[in-house]
């Protein structure tokens, strides 16, 4: 751990600077007068650039590289805007945009089905439900306690320790991890190994892999969701007559 820190001062510095900038941007208890946003923005930008520089270039092709930075950078910026916006509706919208950018990254890694499914589930259903609840709850404008973030210091500390841990784990595998090519997908899943007529990212391969190699995980997740929805119906308040 200490060794990693000594070897990667750039990554650590980037993380710390970014966290400080984010902390500045967080909407605190000062609802009436806002802090100027510029210092926070500059700090976050510098931190993100430092962290990116320390990670190295992942994509060889030019178009890939442009798209990677577009989607990756877009999701980071949208994420920051999501947690720093005062208005919950805007927060939900930035969340939707961050999800869309992440789906762009999935597409770049040849996972179109995952991308489309994420758009349907997150952008199309979960965030729409968020917006529904926000509209239902705050018809007369946001109240003061909804405009500030609570426990921002602890939250930022925890999330950046997690981010640092992930960065450390990725970098400890080698400075420049080889991108996985279509013909050498991780073996051990006999049905998921890509072949010439069934390259990575095709729906057929995905289905075979999900309902072959990972059948138990899929069934387990399905059962869990079923239990959760039955539970939700069970604890929902009920009236004598009819529905809610």
């Amino acid at each position: 751990m200490m060794e990693w820190i000594q070897n990667h001062p750039l990554a650590l510095g980037g993380l710390v600077v970014w966290a400080a900038g984010l902390l500045w941007l967080m909407p605190g208890s000062h609802v009436k007068v806002s802090r100027p946003v510029v210092p926070g923005l500059i700090l976050s930008a510098v931190g993100i650039v430092l962290l990116c520089l320390s990670v190295g270039k992942p994509q060889p092709e030019f178009a890939d590289e442009v798209l990677f930075w577009l989607f990756g950078g877009g999701s980071l910026i949208c994420g920051v805007l999501m947690i720093t916006s005062r208005n919950p509706a805007y927060g939900a919208l930035w969340f939707a945009l961050a999800t869309l950018c992440t789906c762009g990254l999935f597409l770049l890694r040849s996972a179109p089905f995952l991308a489309a499914a994420t758009v349907i589930v997150y952008a199309g259903a979960v965030i729409v439900t968020f917006l529904f609840v926000i509209m239902l709850a705050q018809q007369s404008g946001a109240v003061a306690y909804d405009q500030k973030s609570s426990h921002s210091v602890i939250a930022i500390l925890a999330s950046f320790v997690l981010l640092g841990g992930i960065a450390m784990a990725i970098q400890s595998q080698g400075e420049q991890p080889e991108p996985i090519s279509a013909d050498q997908a991780p073996a051990g899943n006999p049905l998921s190994i890509a072949t010439a007529e069934q390259p990575v990212g095709q729906l057929k391969g995905l289905g075979k892999s999900l309902f072959g190699d990972y059948l138990f995980a899929v069934e387990l997740a399905g059962t869990l969701l079923l239990i959760a929805s039955v539970g939700a119906i069970a604890i929902a308040p009920r009236r004598e007559q009819g529905t809610l």
Binding site: A116, A123, L131
Partner: protein, 398 residues
């Protein structure tokens, strides 16, 4: 010609054609409305009112754009753009002609060979509701907020039967690629059209797509009698028009999907077969597909003046208590037939009997509900039903 040039040409063609087509569809809708209500309809501008859409378009362009002071400006301007952008983007994977037989300078699909075509369309059209939600929320108006709340609940609910209805098709044809689904039906002849084996799925698909597009009888989000204009109350001029451009584009997409997925696309026995080799066969196939789409659009327009608008609880119960269970039963039936290698004729019998059984069940439940309701206070018999109410509607109304 280079691939890039053809792609740009196709995109240009689609984007340029959509507003014009929508304009004339609106004229057609007004004429249909007039015909069904025994009126004359628009007939002042040009012969038979044929220039009415041009006059309307010009009016919408030149009208004053009012942005009220109390709105959230960014989202207010953004909402109509999202509405149009998402609906047009969904057309990218829809083949609007015979893709294999297209002349060299034209391609009948913007993005060919997309493996997840249908899922892509559902993903993009599920984003279209953001236009309505943001428009209603940013208007800062009670009616608009109510309209967009209705829209969000409605779209989230109807996405489930919509997705469920094509699972059967995906299982039967083994692909989600629209071009492949079309080719399989064309090669099998008229009896291979998916409508014969999946009639119930077709009904569910068509109904829930109408709900996704906010068309009558599912237009509770704009419901003029209760909500002034619903989510577009504060909109005027071209921004208002953009919302409706989005809605009509959605109608076109639905019609294309219904014709392609269930009615064989450009295939028609005798005149447009996969091995037709006469001159301009591609033109005939294109016309066959467009005719099917046109019939579908006419049906949607006639539905508008035939079925009255649902009440909101009926709408929700139709989705959750009728269409989702029916969709699930349909999927289980297809899985059963596929697993045991049964004849596909079982699917026909199965679909019809499931539909009949559901109708019988809901009619019985409705009768029990009504006779049991006598003991209760009178207010409860009309209010929130136990599913029997909406179930009766679902079975009887469609």
């Amino acid at each position: 010609m280079s691939e890039l040039l053809i792609t740009l040409l196709t995109i240009g063609l689609v984007v340029a054609a959509i507003p014009g087509v929508c304009n004339y569809l609106i004229l057609l809708e007004r004429k249909m409305a007039a015909w069904m209500q025994d009126r004359v309809g628009p007939n002042r501008v040009g012969p038979y009112g044929l220039f009415q859409p041009l006059a309307d378009g010009l009016k919408l362009l030149l009208k004053e754009e009012v942005i009220p002071k109390h709105v959230d400006r960014t989202l207010f301007v953004l909402a109509p753009m999202i509405s149009v952008f998402t609906t047009i983007l969904a057309l990218a994977v829809v083949p609007f002609g015979p893709v294999e037989d297209a002349p060299s300078w034209l391609r009948f699909i913007i993005a060919p060979g997309i493996d997840i075509g249908l899922v892509f369309i559902f993903a993009i059209t599920s984003l279209a509701v953001y236009g309505i939600i943001l428009g209603g929320w940013s208007s800062n108006n009670k009616y608009s907020a109510l309209g967009s709340m209705r829209a969000s609940a409605q779209v989230v609910s109807y996405e489930i039967p919509l997705g469920m209805s094509v699972v059967g098709i995906a299982l039967l044809s083994g692909t989600l690629n629209l071009e492949n689904i079309l080719t399989q039906q064309a090669q099998g002849g008229i009896l291979a059209w998916n409508i014969w084996v999946q009639p119930l799925a077709c009904l569910l698909f068509f109904t829930s797509s109408l709900a996704e597009a906010n068309r009558l009888p599912f237009d509770l989000a704009e419901c003029e009698q209760e909500l002034v204009g619903g989510w577009h109350t504060e909109y005027s001029a071209l921004k208002w028009a953009l919302f409706f451009l989005g809605e009509y584009t959605h109608v076109i997409t639905i019609s294309f999907l219904t014709s392609i997925v269930f009615f064989g696309g450009w295939h028609f026995p005798g005149i447009a077969e996969p091995d037709s080799a006469y001159m301009f066969a591609w033109l005939v196939k294109l016309l066959v597909l467009l005719t099917k789409v046109f019939i579908c659009i006419l049906l949607i327009m006639m539905l508008r003046w035939t079925i009255p608008r649902f009440r909101f609880d009926q709408l929700m119960e139709l989705a959750w208590k009728v269409m989702i269970p029916l969709g699930l039963v349909n999927v289980v039936m297809v899985m059963f037939v596929q697993q045991f290698q049964l004849s596909r004729l079982w699917l026909v019998a199965g679909s019809v009997s499931i539909f009949a059984a559901w109708g019988f069940l809901s009619a019985t439940a409705k009768r029990a509900h009504l006779s049991g309701g006598k003991k209760r206070p009178a207010t409860h018999t009309t209010g929130h039903g136990h599913g029997a109410h909406a179930a009766g509607h679902g079975a009887g109304g469609h």
